[in-house]
Amino acid sequence: MAKGTDMATEETEYLEQSWALLVWRRFRRHRLALVGAAVILLLYAMAIFAPYLAPYPPNDVNPARRLELPSLAHPFGLDELGRDLLSRVMYGARISLSIGFVAAGISLVVGVFLGALAGYYGGVVDNIIMRTVDVLMSIPAFLLIIAIVAAVGPNMLNVMVVIGLTHWSGYARVTRGTVLSLRSQEFVEAARAIGGGSLRVILRHILPNCLAPVIVLATLNVAGAILIETSLSFLGFGVQPPTASWGTILNTGRQYMRNAPHIALFPGLAITVTVLAFNLLGDGLRDALDPKLKL
């Protein structure tokens, strides 16, 4: 490595500075990750301000101009009821981004909590939790999710909860591993010796050490959750029409593929850009937070 020497000097400089600053400096060097972060911010802004930014109301139908190809007035064209596709894709961002975010949040809370319990208490608790992780990992998750969502009723809340509750095994494994390796370290013993209760020791002294892998996992997890949600909606087991969501628009696009391929093109591009942005951000965060991390 040619960069070896100047990296060493940079490293000594860093010793004086806080961890966050160090991470930021390493992250800033990762240009693609910065692009990813910027795209994510833009997408969230677009989702939040969709009512102000969208050129037309998303559910205004215009049957006379159905399936019209993209034009200046309608850059993404019109759908099977003559609704403006650009506006619908913008509104669709609200669904996918919130489901991705909330589902990943649920997985994170459940996974970190159970992983910490398993690692800290060991024994039977550990066995029960980790065998559950094994079970979850050996079921074809996608089919399981559709089956459960179809059974409990396809709507936004159920989709978020079911995706969240089936994808926490990665967090549990990472947290458990960190807790196990730290449980017997001096600083944890010291915290316990001065009277810190289990909860305090876990929350204040152990969990902060899992932060790096958990943040990376969560970023990639949002991307995964968005892919699952759009697949569910595409198959008709997710968000129900007439609500605009990327998956449901794609589903209509499939029926009009022959005459109006633009209907399937744009929501798919939106999904790809969003998922790509989260993957880039996740990669950059992994390199910045902990270059040795393997996820």
């Binding site: 089956a147 198959l235 794609l250 093109l265 790809t272 993957n279 880039l280």
Partner: protein, 308 residues
Amino acid sequence: MTMGQYVARRAFLSVFLLLGVSVLVFSIMHMAPGDPVMMVAGLEAPPEVVEAIRKEWGFDQPIHVQYFRWLRRAVVLDFGISLTTRERVSFMILSRVPNTLKLNLAAYALALCIAIPVGVYSALRQYSLFDHVGTVAALLGVSMPGFWLGLMLMIVFALKLHILPVFGMGTWKHYVLPAFTLGAAQAAGLMRMTRSSVLEALHQDYVRTARAKGLAERVVIYKHVLKNAAIPIVTMMGFRFAYILSGSFIVEHIFAWPGIGRLAINSLYSRDYFVVQAVVLMTATMIVIANLTVDIIYCFLDPRIRYD
């Protein structure tokens, strides 16, 4: 622990794993509000059919009795009769397994043929144009929803250019689009993994030593770098193989491929829950068995693993 003990312990754990899976699969039926019998039979079913199903599956019994009755039959692959086609569920599934296997094997082979050479070459020429293009392509591949890629390929190659069939199964041409759609995502993941493993191996001390003692670059690459980089790659290939029956649900649905994925999704549409349960249980069983096999092969190849 001896090798035999390790294998016995892993096999024992797998049985428990399968019991756990079966509880989860069984409980899907009971998650919905309302009467599970109505869910199985459908809301328009005549009362005598509803009563017959209630009797046959013991829906009037306590839940643990129902579970064990269901499990006893599931073990011998008796999943009952499909309520839409009146066929035996196990027959419906087993007759479609070969089609799913063929499609996934084609995709898997395609993924290996693309991912490994491209990944290795990218790593050896790090930061070259080839590497950048490959890295971007791989990132796109993992970020693109498979079903969307499938639709786009279908529009271009089948509907516009008319060089490939739109859907179905028959000639080799029918394989091209679905196998590529499935293989692209797998290739992308495998390529990223291959690239990083080779890069890691390139920076090891033994590679520097090999170069320092004057070995030809070709020998260093083949004997020292690639051999060591192969370990994580082969592991990933093994675990990917476990999902060979359960990775193609949506692609089969889009391309009307007569496999178990399409069967599962169609059964969900017609609320044929016996079929859905059976597909989940059978594919999960395949995953558990495949993982167990990989683990056992591994413990013969690399004795260190047993001490984990």
